[in-house]
């Protein structure tokens, strides 16, 4: 058995991390976490996660910034809000997961080969440009960003089924007043920095 160095020294932690997350997710309740695990047990995605939600909250509070931001957990959150409605301390866990995603993108430490962060960023790009999303183009752009030509093949039957039932559109959807839309995005990005 190979012995791995799993020790993290206190000097490597970021005790201010919890403040960032608390402020950015408007979630003061994080201080009241009692580590009961209701979030983890109510999560439909927990079996796929590297750290369950309970651990993520505990790690945030104890400053494990690097580990938390590199984790797959926020990206595996399906945004079902079950943990959030069940939490006995009313912690906005799903909203915290969103903040973690944004922090991971800003710090450029999100899992690069994983489809979900690529999907989020590509969809963001498409909407910012056109005002609307187009399902087919979004999926294609996602795989392009992942540099993965193989995985889309797994969805051939899905594509064929959608085509057969007239549910696959090749059109790039756009809103009419894109000028206004772009002006809005520009104003908000300058105002909310």
């Amino acid at each position: 058995m190979e012995i791995q160095d799993k020790v993290i020294f206190e000097g490597e932690l970021d005790p201010g991390f919890v403040n960032t997350i608390r402020d950015k997710s408007f979630s003061e309740e994080i201080d009241k976490c009692i580590q009961c695990g209701t979030c983890s047990s109510s999560c439909p995605m927990v079996s796929y996660m590297d750290y369950p939600p309970r651990k993520i909250i505990g790690m945030i509070k104890h400053g494990f910034k690097n580990e938390v931001l590199k984790s797959f957990t926020p990206w595996l959150c399906a945004s079902c809000y079950n943990c959030q409605v069940k939490c006995p301390s009313n912690i906005k866990i799903t909203d915290i997961m969103y903040t973690l995603k944004r922090e991971a993108i800003d710090a450029n430490v999100y899992p690069k080969k994983f489809p979900i962060p690529a999907l989020a960023q590509e969809m963001h790009k498409i909407i910012a440009k056109n005002g609307r999303s187009s399902e087919l183009w979004l999926v294609l752009q996602m795989y392009l960003k992942l540099k993965d030509p193989i995985s889309p093949l797994k969805y051939t039957s899905t594509g064929i089924n959608l085509m057969k039932t007239g549910r696959l559109s090749l059109k790039k959807e756009k809103i009419k007043n894109r000028k206004q839309f772009h002006a809005l995005l520009k104003a908000v990005s300058e105002d909310t920095k």
Partner: protein, 294 residues
Amino acid sequence: MRDFIYYPGCSLKAGGKHYEESLLPVFKAIGMPLEEMDDWNCCGATAYFSVDEFMAAAICGRNLSIAEKEKKNVLAPCAGCFLTMKKSNTFLKSGHEKAKKILNDLKSVDAEYKGSIDVVHPLEVLVKDIGLDKIRELVQTKLTGLKVACYYGCQVVRPYTDLDDPDYPTIMDDLMAAIGAEPVDYAAKTRCCGGSLGGTIEKVGVDLNYVLLKEAKKKGADVIVTLCPLCQFNLELPQSKVVAKYKDDVRIPILYFTQLMGLAFGIPKEDLGFNRSVISLDKMWAKLSNGGGK
């Protein structure tokens, strides 16, 4: 009666077009023809919130401002649009310093939003505004004997809404009973389908939905009805893969609740998007001995 403007969102114009195809005639039959919001933009879905939440709130604000100008509330059938716009609406009305800035930005691009309207789901309008008595009056062909598992998914029932119980809602079951169908006690009704993960990570899509399909089958359901285009996609499209992986024939049609309502209202089935079902509906038509609508 509150006034509504129809916000389709991207899915109801693409993969979920049979939701729109059935929703519009149902509301017309009720005497509330829906008008589509002019030049609406995407709600941003979960993706925009993952990248920039203030922008996400702002683009929802643009839609809210279009509706407010017409003095109408936003009717959002897609669960994702519903939650995202509801959440953004709550934030924009919160008085938070950043929210005020966004409202100013909206004003600066001629999309002022005063915060006077609500975002509602069609289910709420049908059951709470219109009422089940009126729905019962409109039924021409009761869907007698059809066992229906009502699948709510997650985002319509939690957490920015008081629509119904977040764990075990019954509002759609009541609606299905009102049109003569028989709702089954479906414990998995709010267990998540995986959302955008269902269609992007194959294993998730297959595993999660096996649980949902199996539970409905065990309860004897003939069909599952949904209220969200992403749930509909996630439950329907991976079925052949689910069957192959678990060696268990859990195939079952995944319809929109509005399709069954239209059928009960006597709207021709050709006009309700049933042809877009990937799963065969033969058993369902056979069970509805009249062939399902006239």
